[in-house]
């Protein structure tokens, strides 16, 4: 008998099998060869031929060894790659990707839907988050910004949250505190900057205490900062140039230092250049020393910034300043020091808006995720059969999972890429909507980390739900899955998940729609507020007379009067006059008392005082409730003092508007009484959604000002008046720059930009949400219908009418929609509380909004259900039955 064992052993050489195992294999294979040999002999073959045929079974020795090596060595588990044997990893990834892209291309509708939803969710989030990040998360460009606090005073009695700091208070805090490393104060203003060729322009300036740069932890870009002796009354006239102005005026030449600047006709020597990254106040182009006298009383006008000592908390510092305040000689109970982190003071206004928008985009992202998840689930379901077959014929679970993973990741990647690109565009649009007065050192770059986060989040949703069918199909439950496939219906579990998805999407969309509906309603309500003046066809622009040239009030009055007279001659001007402050332009507060009026002991509201020329109220389109305007006779210094008050003033002090002839004065027995000659309707001076304050309009004889805003009313396009006006100003004084040239309509628009922006942004998000939700419902219901084609076919064959079929399909879909509506309505009542402060008095239960949203969503839901229902009703029973 041939030695089979040896033949086998020869061919196993080099495999290094362990002895016992090799012996077993040798024995088993030898036995096989022997069986074969015997069989061949039995069939009548000669020994020699039988032997060679049996040995042939072993084929080449390399073949056997190679095959066995694959199965017997520990490392030779089934390879993960597609190629046989090892194959390199890059090669196999590339292969996976190729297959994934082919599948993505093969289902363009599905792929586009997934990519679109991902992109939508990511774009909105990336844009809004970048703004949030720029405003609130990115550190301020100062050294150790967390130690910087804003210092101010508050005056609840005057109905003012912030009044500013007075000189004596600022000095007392600066000298007496034990909790600050440094403290500085500043006051923003403006100046006419004249250059050598005599052309003047208006720039923003700030007077600052000498330590401001130090406190912020900044160094001059060139030159030096201010010295203590320059920051005293009578100190040298020196200035620091803002970086941008330095570039514009001197092209960044260091020789600018030592040059003389003419600011409002006064000469200042440039001693230093401000650093580029950070200036306080944010828009100042030139700093000059404050040089205040700490011993003289002053109005409250300074802004303060302090640097806390290491380890000192905000509360400790507050207690410290409160102590100083109490110890100050003069008993003062009208104002109190207040402080807060610097960022909060400058950006606090945006916080609510941005938080709410962030919430809205979060919801949109969530809806997008849910939608993608639903799509992937449905898609996976429709691929269950393919997956089962592949599993059955030997594809390993790992390989199928990897294939689906690659597909999901490829979709997530494309969606993410598009989303980030679209997000950049959105961000750009949003930033261009931001008001000019956002500090320029706030940067809104698309935050890469966040973009990655959004991509990862939506990608994870896609991947998880994309893998679910693979894991299920590839698990031991395959038989069940295949039988289900054979029946072509969804598992109850998955149908449940999809139902929850639909309900959730509807609910989320309802929350967003109701919120945005409320905001838009509130915005419309604001738009319908009567401003108290007629904003159309009025252009306004400002002039400030340098005191060095126009020292006396008479000179100032004469200038403004002759200017107004000349402007009247401009063609198409119907009325023109001037005032110190026009609506939506700012605030100048004074206190008044009224003869026989409410005493002002406990409550002293701050009164907006405006100095106006005769005819201003008419030019601005304000209405008199009683009395009349003052005239040029009232402007003479020796004329009896008169004033016009607004309705709010009259009602507060006298409880009536019929008060012409009554008298008011500044508090204090020595002050002259002013006779009220007229009462006007209250204007929305602080914005259509702003507060209402008592106001007094006085002639020049009562209060003089060196800066005024001219208002020109016309019947034509008001912008066309700017250039003849400029020519007239030049004739009067070529050194005077006109600034803040805006129509009143533009001022009104600007005052509403934040509300407009967030209202419409929210509406846009809500629109996206309902679009996504509708797509979600449509997708899920269509899929359910397509899966039930056979069942529906049987029903129709058994006599169900198409209308009945439609009712059933729509009924099951609308049930989900209705549950979603109810859930969304309930949740929106909770979420609307966050909006309350922005709703301008609108109830969060505003019936119009809620009902229109609910019925709108129900209609959209119905439409999304209707199409698949009609398809179901049109099922041809024979066709449906044969299809299986």
């Amino acid at each position: 008998m041939p030695d089979w064992a040896q033949a086998v052993r020869d061919r196993l050489a080099g495999l290094n099998l362990n002895g016992a195992r090799e012996a077993e294999i040798v024995e088993e294979l030898a036995r096989h060869l022997d069986d074969r040999y015997r069989e061949l002999l039995a069939a009548g073959l000669p020994e020699e031929q039988a032997h060679s045929l049996a040995v042939e079974e072993l084929e080449t020795r390399d073949m056997l060894a190679a095959q066995l090596r694959k199965t017997r060595l520990p490392a030779a588990r089934e390879p993960m790659g597609f190629g046989s044997g090892g194959g390199n990893i890059m090669e196999s990834i590339r292969h996976d990707l190729k297959v994934a892209l082919r599948i993505i291309r093969a289902k363009p509708g599905f792929s586009l839907a997934v990519v679109f939803m991902l992109a939508l969710g990511i774009a909105g989030n990336a844009a809004i988050f970048s703004i949030f990040n720029g405003l609130f998360l990115r550190p301020l460009p100062f050294a150790q910004p967390e130690r910087l606090v804003d210092l101010d005073e508050t005056a609840p009695k005057w109905n003012l949250k912030y009044v500013g700091v007075s000189n004596p208070d600022a000095y007392a805090w600066f000298k007496g505190n034990a909790t600050f490393d440094g403290m500085a104060f500043f006051h923003g203003g403006g100046a006419n900057l004249s250059n050598s060729s005599g052309v003047a322009r208006r720039i923003k300036t700030a007077t600052v205490t000498y330590r401001l740069l130090d406190v912020l932890g900044l160094k001059p870009a060139a030159g030096r900062g201010f010295l203590p002796e320059e920051d005293r009354p009578g100190g040298a006239k020196v200035a620091m140039l803002g970086y941008d102005l330095w570039q514009r005026l001197y092209y960044g030449d260091r020789r600018a230092i030592g040059q003389v600047l003419k600011l409002s006709e006064e000469a200042y020597t440039v001693v230093g250049i401000l650093p580029r990254e950070a200036i306080l106040p944010p828009d100042a182009e030139v700093w000059t020393p404050l040089a205040a006298d700490p011993n003289k009383a002053s109005p409250f006008y300074l802004s303060g910034v302090g640097r806390l000592k290491h380890g000192v908390t905000l509360d400790q510092a507050k207690a410290d300043l409160a102590r100083i305040h109490r110890e100050q000689a003069q008993a003062k109970d009208d104002t109190y020091p207040v402080m807060q982190p610097l960022r909060d003071r400058y950006l606090g206004d945006f916080r609510t808006v941005v938080n709410i928008l962030l919430g809205a985009v979060g919801l949109v992202l969530l809806i997008a995720c849910v939608n993608v998840a639903g799509l992937m689930l449905v898609h996976g379901e429709s691929r269950a059969r393919e997956i089962s077959i592949r599993t059955a014929i030997g594809a390993s679970r790992a390989r199928i999972v990897r294939q689906l993973l690659t597909e999901s990741l490829a979709l997530a990647f494309i969606g993410g890429l598009l989303g980030v690109a679209a997000g950049k565009v959105c961000l750009h649009a949003l930033v261009s909507l931001m008001p000019d007065d956002t500090p320029h050192w706030i940067r809104f770059d698309l935050d890469a980390r966040f973009a990655l986060f959004a991509i990862a989040l939506t990608g994870a949703a896609a991947v998880l739900c994309g893998l679910l069918p693979a894991v299920q199909a590839a698990s031991a439950d395959t038989r069940g899955a295949l039988q289900e496939v054979a029946r072509s219906t969804l598992t109850r579990g998955k149908r449940g998940v999809l139902s929850v998805f639909v309900i959730g999407e509807i609910a989320l969309a309802v929350i967003l729609l109701i919120s945005s509906g409320l905001l838009v309603q509130a915005f419309r309500k604001v738009l319908h507020v009567d401003p108290g003046f007629r904003p159309d066809n009025v252009i306004t622009w400002s002039l400030r007379l340098p005191v060095a040239k126009y020292a006396k009030p008479e000179q100032q009055l004469a200038f403004f009067e002759s200017l107004v007279d000349r402007l009247k001659s401009v063609p198409a001007v119907s009325s023109v006059s001037a005032a110190s402050i026009v609506p939506l332009d700012g605030h100048m507060g004074y206190f008044f008392e009224a003869e026989n009026g409410l005493p002002t002991k406990d409550q002293r509201p701050v009164v907006l005082q405006i100095t106006a020329l005769p005819g201003y109220l008419e030019a601005m389109g304000m209405t008199f409730l009683a009395g009349h305007d003052f005239t040029r006779h009232d402007e003479a210094a020796d004329a009896p003092q008169v004033a016009v008050i607004n309705e709010a003033f009259a009602r507060f002090f006298w409880g009536s508007t019929d008060v012409a002839g009554r008298r008011i004065r500044y508090p204090g027995g020595n002050n002259k009484w002013m006779t009220v000659v007229g009462v006007i309707r209250t204007t929305m001076h602080y914005g259509l959604d702003g507060e209402i304050r008592p106001s007094v309009i006085v002639p020049f004889s009562v209060s003089t000002v060196n800066g005024m805003t001219i208002a020109m009313r016309t019947a034509i396009d008001p912008h066309s008046l700017a250039s003849p006006a400029r020519e007239i100003v030049r004739q009067l004084d070529p050194d005077l720059p006109m600034f803040d040239i805006r129509t009143m309509s533009e001022r009104l628009e600007r005052s509403l930009w934040v509300r407009r922006a967030y209202s419409w942004l929210f509406a846009a998000f809500a629109a996206v949400a309902i679009l996504l939700a509708a797509a979600g419902i449509y997708g899920v219901i269509s899929f359910a219908v397509s899966q039930r084609t056979r069942e529906i076919g049987i029903r129709i064959a058994l006599g169900a009418r198409p209308a009945q079929v439609m009712r059933t399909v729509i009924g099951s879909g609308m049930l989900l929609v209705l549950i979603g509506l109810a859930a969304g309505l309930a949740a929106s009542q909770l979420s609307a509380r966050f909006l309350e402060s922005m709703l301008f008095g609108l109830s969060t239960r505003d019936a119009v909004t809620c009902i229109s949203v609910l019925s709108g969503v129900a209609l959209v839901g119905l439409a999304a259900n209707f199409i698949p229902a009609r398809r179901a009703a049109a099922v041809d029973p024979m066709h449906a039955l044969r299809a299986e």
């Binding site: 036995r31 060869l33 079974e57 297959v99 077959i389 059955a392 014929i393 038989r479």
Partner: protein, 114 residues
Amino acid sequence: MSNQSIDRDLKKGSAELLILSLLNGRQRHGYEIGKLIETRSKGALVFRVASLYPLLYKLEDRGWIQGRWVEKPGQRRRRYYRLTAAGRKILAERQVGWAAFVEAIRRITGAEYA
């Protein structure tokens, strides 16, 4: 699915399915398995030692089949293979999948002549 991978899946999967099917309900030794495949396929499928045994060892490694030495009086011992519980489960799944696959193929190829 690429053609390559289908092809590979198919060959590998079908061979495994053949072996699992033959071991369903009774244990057999390697020679018998090879013989049965050859005879039942009327010679269309032939597994030689070099391909049959590595496959058996692989299935055994996966825990789908289990081999053990059986001695019968007057004979040298043989290694018999039988299905494990896991193997039976896999077989059931693959039978359904295979049926679906064949049905799919039939529909497509059948359509050519329909």
